[in-house]
Amino acid sequence: MTTAVAETGMIGALATKFRICPATGLRVDLAAERLIKANAVAAVVFLAIGGGFGLLVALTRWPAVHLLSSDLFYLALTAHGLDVLLMWIIFFEMAVLYFASAVILSSRIAAPRWGWVGFVLMIVGALMTNVAVLQGDSSVMFTSYVPMQARPHFYLGLILFAVGALIGCFIFLGTLVIAKEEKTYEGSIPLVTFGALTACIIAVFTIASGAIILIPTFLWSVGYIGHIDSLMYKLVWWAMGHSSQQINVSAHVAIWYLIAAVTVGAKPLSEKVSRTAFLLYILFLQLAAAHHMLVEPGLSSEWKIVNTSYMMYLAVLGSMIHGMTVPGSIEAAQRKSGFTRGVFEWLRKAPWGNPAFAGMFLSLVMFGFLGGISGVVLGTEQLNIMMHNTLYVPGHFHATVVAGTTLAFMAVTYLVVPLIFQREIVWPKLAKIQPYLFGIGASGISLFMMGAGTLGVARRHWDITFPALDVTLPYGYSPAASLMMGLNGLSAILAATGGVLYVAIVVASILFGKKVDASNAVAALGPMPKKVVHDAVAKYGDAGTWHLPGTYVLVGLFFTTFILYYFVNWKYLSELWPMQ
């Protein structure tokens, strides 16, 4: 490393201060560390706010509770979408980008001052949009479909937020260049950084799409542009809105690999395969705007089929590959550590008491089984007729973004607090159950909303018991729909309990946790499997690595579920009124 510092030249070398991480031996740039802390804290604050709005939404949609008035309900729903889907996730992703570049590569971070400019822009933008929503006349939902109009500062806040995030992306890319130039690592970047790079590239595409649509919409809201085409708006808006979910996928898959590496010493089964799977994301995930336009007038079926399938499901292929290689790498590592009995000893004896591992594995399973399968079904051109804009849609994306991404981010926090904030996790017993509470709650939300959606219940709807309202032409959903909404409310309470616990544990640990130093650095990462041998797997492609019966069983179960559920839906579709 001394040579690396010498090569930086005087300015880089003098300006950068490092510490050595006692747990991993990585060299941590203190400027990067401060940026990671700031973004992670902002993320958790917005999770708390947005999650609170989410609970209010769920309690209103529970017919027996029906908490908020209709005006407040639409306000809360708009705020919920913005604060969790944008603010929480993108602030956290900024922290992940800085961590995956500067920390993992032991490099100094590029242009940390610009990092602060970006951070301030994001904060200002997030507050501005929140103010617009709370003022009450911008309840236009997260998607703000034209010609419905919000106040100008609603759009302006989003634009500032996006510019800030874009700066963060370029700092990440700059840091990769610096690390390469200063030779802080040898060979190719680690897989986790590669996954983060995937996320970053998709983020640049996403933010560009956002700029293309939000800037004209802002100008329209202040009166400089007369008309925005509603179909064009939707197409470009979703090039941002859906692609930004692919940033999440790339980021949380990278985090799965990261947590598997730190907690059980897992190593990718094949670098080539895992990286190719990420590459498939970059190449094909951006086509997903079509998922929101399958029952739209004005688009050809050919366009819909090619785009909705990510060009013949090549991006889905990427996820299915990760779905095997992540559990496979864990099984391989556990078997090398001596857990070789039967098909599932490796899984039974995995560190389930470590919240980082438990959260990661739950995220993996729920993202695949609930989010992945429902996403493909929802994104099938004709099947979408039965699901578009019903509660099936939020059911699906709560499985991907809440049970998948958010749970993965929570899980990695249990490593970030000791590694970056250098504090032990307080209340380890509560931390142990937190991922289960949140995970079970989130999967309940997903399942019950999908159930209600299958029964036809509309999303973004204040009251499904029309007879109670002054409605001219009332319609009654089946009683099962009300049951689903009640179970959804209960699940939301469970998830909210897990969420409150998470925020409390993180805040208390940062403020009052015992300081981490060389003496407790490894212990602070939580319980690990007892027989861990570091760098457990000798070599990928190694014959010994590839005895993974447990993973084959899991993948087989997943695939069978997938096929059955897929064709059951075609059966349902065939019972609809014929239409053409």
Partner: protein, 184 residues
């Protein structure tokens, strides 16, 4: 580990294990099956969304819907004043969306096909036919013509499922399906 650079510098030349290759092959084939399933359904399936769409001035669409309602009105819906309109079997039917109503109420015959014209006069709305759960997005300025064939008699609700403002949840409509030769 995944947080370290690849163990072998030339990682792209490492062999891929057979089980992994098999899974990639299976997943790829499954993707192809799902892709061609959509095309198959366009050829052999009964439920495909029409792509018959034209640009239309909302005022023109409103006028056509008014003319249609006047011509084929059979009664009024209770004391709401909303006309119930029964188009000839196999003919054109119109339903417009505006904040916050679907207008007019339609009466269709079971087993007959109708060309349903839908469009919005103001914002985007969602045509959600319940309980059969058929959902179509509606844009202002785009007239969508969907041929539908009701298969069962009954009273069907039309719920708006695209958020369209603070009165979104009161935006409902209705379609009656009667056995052929009845109703009116």
């Amino acid at each position: 580990m995944a947080i370290h650079p690849p163990q072998s510098r030339v990682w792209w030349k490492e062999p891929i294990a057979k089980a992994e290759l098999v899974w990639i092959g299976v997943a790829f084939l499954w993707g192809l099956i799902m892709f061609f399933m959509m095309i198959y359904w366009h050829i052999y399936g009964q439920q495909n969304l029409s792509t018959q769409v034209g640009r239309i001035d909302p005022a023109v669409f409103e006028q056509r819907t008014n003319d249609f309602a006047e011509k084929f009105k059979v009664r009024e819906e209770g004391d709401t004043g909303i006309p119930v309109v029964k188009p000839p079997a196999g003919g054109d039917a119109y339903m417009l969306a505006r904040t916050y109503e679907w207008w007019p109420v339609l009466e269709l015959e079971k087993g007959k096909s109708y060309k349903l014209h839908i469009s919005s006069l103001d914002l985007q709305h969602g045509f959600s036919l319940q309980p059969i759960n058929m959902n179509i997005q509606v844009h202002p300025g785009l007239e969508h013509v969907v041929t539908i064939t009701p298969t069962e008699a009954g009273i069907y609700g039309v719920v708006c499922n695209e958020y369209c403002g603070l009165g979104h949840h009161v935006m409902t409509g209705r379609i009656y399906v009667v056995d052929s030769g009845q109703g009116g």
